[in-house]
Symmetry: C2
Subunit: 129 residues, 2 copies
DNA sequence: GTGCTACCTGGAGCCGGGTCCAGGTCAAGC
DNA sequence: GCTTGACCTGGACCCGGCTCCAGGTAGCAC
């Protein structure tokens, strides 16, 4: 008596669109999504859990083909745990770098904004003189 | 006696490719790049400065069409400074949100890594017993 | 039994952001 | 005066990541 989720429920909870879910299945990011007797997808708790992982992997910029690789390793059981860990560590390093870069560029942006504010203030002062 | 930079120099200093520079000119992110008598681009100091801005706008996720809009406003002089500031502020808010989101997802990733480490440690312990 | 809704399928299309190509021109060095 | 290299042009192509479409089916509501 495993519990299943309909596509609509997954859409609601996870925020992927129907089309994206089907797309992920097509390209192998999701695999073996079971069907009910009428042929409709039903997502298991494990599927949903995996989708949560997909979301943070994707949102941290891991390309889908790498996510797929990871998923295929996971499918091959414990034996591949070390490889998966390495993959995650390597990705994590990239993420850290990206965040650092993003923060630097963000700082530039804020400086520009500061510049505009001063500029407009000076202009305002002139208008009142 | 304005100083100019050749495309190659800009490529070196800014890290955009030749093709990207030409592409940016085509779509209006760059405008009025002057030419030498032989028709070759020469980038002014102001162009280079603008390209630096393009880089941090792009790297913080501003879409090129918005960057173009911004550039066109800038071209219309001081009159549009307020609008430009608003645009930057709005973008800056999005960036802040994105960084926050990224940090949350990054945290998830690190938890997963932690889980793997523990898992492998337990496994290692078993192997030695 | 007629709708309606929620799905299904394979395949085409779209969008952003480049990247590559063919064919040509000029300037400099030898 | 010839080669080489850095550039020019317009246009085609690519890639990732979706998104949309047409045509079809199963189940429920009335």
């Amino acid at each position: 008596m495993t519990e299943y989720f309909t596509p609509a429920q997954v859409v609601d909870r996870l925020g992927f669109s129907h089309d994206t879910l089907r797309y992920y299945e097509r390209i192998g990011v999701l695999e073996h999504i079971s069907r009910d007797p009428a042929g409709r997808r039903r997502f298991s708790a494990a599927d949903v859990e995996w989708l949560e992982a997909v979301r943070y992997l994707r949102d941290t910029g891991m390309p889908l083909n790498e996510i797929r690789r990871y998923s295929q390793l996971a499918k091959d059981g414990d034996r591949t745990a070390t490889t998966r860990l390495e993959l995650l560590l390597c990705h994590e390093e990239r993420v850290t770098d990206r965040i650092a870069h993003l923060n630097r560029q963000h700082e530039q942006l804020r400086q520009k904004i500061g510049w505009y504010r001063e500029h407009l203030a000076r202009q305002g002062a002139r208008d009142h003189s």
